[in-house]
Amino acid sequence: MFNFCTDPDTLPTLQWFACFLTTGKHMGFYASFGTVLLLLAITAPAALLFGFGGASAARSRILPLSWLGKAYIALVRGVPDIAFFLFFVIALDQALEWMRHQVKCPDWDQPIRQGNDFVVCAQAKLPLGTAPQWVHETYGFSLAVLTFAIVFGAFAANVLYGAMRAVPHAQIETAEAYGMSHRQTFWRILVPQMWVYALPGLSNLWMVLIKATPLLFLLGVEDIVYWARELGGTANPRFTDYPHGDWRMWYFLALLIFYLGFTRVSELVLDRIMRRLSHGQATAGGEAQRRAAGGPP
């Protein structure tokens, strides 16, 4: 990157590091931080959406819908995350390709499962074999986001289900006394008030989600853990201009600082949100705020 990097062996330590930390391989490492942050930015709202849907379904008066919601929460929470990731991603990929195959190649006469292989016609492959690598990487990333969202959505659904039931029943009764329909009560009274009960559980989930991002590595997405392992490994002078020993510990230390910093910032933000949501609520936090503002003891 710098013009003094042409012969690294002759450089003093500071310049050597400047060149070492700016090789193409290291740029991949820095870019992967963006991948992780992007994953979190997309997965969190998606998981919340899945959670909201699941909790609403579980609370529903329509019995099959309620069963569906409860089954989603129970099954997805009960299966270990890793098993879900490894199985679900491959199964989803094959399911989508199978559907495309049925539509695009109706006159395919060979079986799709040939021994161990899963073979569909070339036009049905998702993404296409001819598609550039970035399409493949985006597709893999999207599958990862979807899987994360479904798994964490189940946990969010459980939290939101509990939060919805925690809203004081008096509030619902009052709403009904005012003649609000079920839908109006739900959207105007229940949902705004449930957040203060949901937030501790959801903030927990957010921390767990941050720490679960290395699972991307299992799905073949090049995330920060992959690069830390790759870059930290012993570099032999035959294969690189920047030989070094086993520096994995230092790279993992950098990751540790990143994750701790990120969770600390998240904690600060969530604290702020909690304070705002507690305003006027009949919780200990709300009560403390009321007294601090000079209300009667």
């Binding site: 390709e97 070339a122 550039p132 392992r229 490994g233 002078p237 294969f239 690189t240 086993d246």
Partner: protein, 237 residues
């Protein structure tokens, strides 16, 4: 109108045929000198050069993909890429799941790397990468085996004393022994496996034939031996 439809269909079909020549090559990227990621973040190594040359000879467009070792066969079978070119030895166990082209290196000796030259391998703890012929070799003989997911971790285990020696391809261990004073290759070597070949799906006979022809042409004109010598991966044919 009919002509227009036929012409469009022919064009679409031919476009499909032309673009069907892209082959995705799956490799590990963590096993120098066979395959590794160079300073620019690209796949490099003996197999990168070999793969590019074979694709040129077979008149295919090749795209390189990395995948970690443990899921490299399941992902081939599932269709994420079309070929495995990752220093994978031809074994009967793997033949049950995938097909191999003819070998492009002769059976390579596997060597032991240890901290001192007088380690008795039959009564020591040996490290190896999971799902490799070396791990299977140690297990078959009933010696103590410790397995790791990546080749780097096997060597780290010897350095920190978790294992007494590591068994891996000699081509992989030789540069490590040359570079580090504290690690030496033992005199004892083992001949395991049937040479390294490219893995393809069992249903992909056509692709296998194309690569077989390309490998044979490289063997015939000596360019394969030249490449093997250049990268010091194995003995020549």
């Amino acid at each position: 109108m009919k002509k227009l439809i036929l012409a469009t269909a022919a064009l679409a079909l031919s476009a499909g045929l032309a673009s069907a020549d892209t082959v995705r090559m799956g490799t590990e990227g963590a096993y120098p000198p066979w395959n590794f990621i160079n300073d620019n973040g690209q796949v490099d190594g003996f197999e990168r050069e070999l793969g590019d040359e074979l694709c040129k000879r077979a008149e295919l467009t090749c795209e390189w993909v990395t995948n970690e070792w443990d899921s490299i066969i399941p992902n081939l079978v599932s269709g994420n890429y079309d070929v495995i070119i990752a220093g994978m030895s031809i074994t009967a166990e793997r033949e049950e799941v995938i097909d191999f082209t003819q070998n492009y290196t002769p059976p390579d000796p596997s060597a032991y790397l240890a901290m001192s030259p007088d380690v008795d391998v039959e009564n020591s703890v040996i490290a190896a990468q999971t799902n490799t012929i070396q791990a299977a070799f140690i297990a078959e003989h009933g010696w103590t085996l410790v397995e790791f997911a990546t080749p780097e971790e096997t060597i780290a285990a010897v350095r920190n004393g978790e294992a007494d020696a590591v068994l891996a391809d000699k081509a992989y261990l030789a540069p490590v022994a040359a570079e580090e004073d504290g690690l030496v290759l033992l005199e004892r070597e083992e001949m395991i496996g049937g040479g390294v070949g490219m893995g393809v799906r069992e249903s992909d006979g056509e692709l296998k034939a194309k690569f077989d022809a390309a490998i044979q042409s490289m063997k015939d004109d000596g360019s394969l031996n030249a490449m093997i010598t250049k990268w010091e991966v194995a003995t020549t044919f």
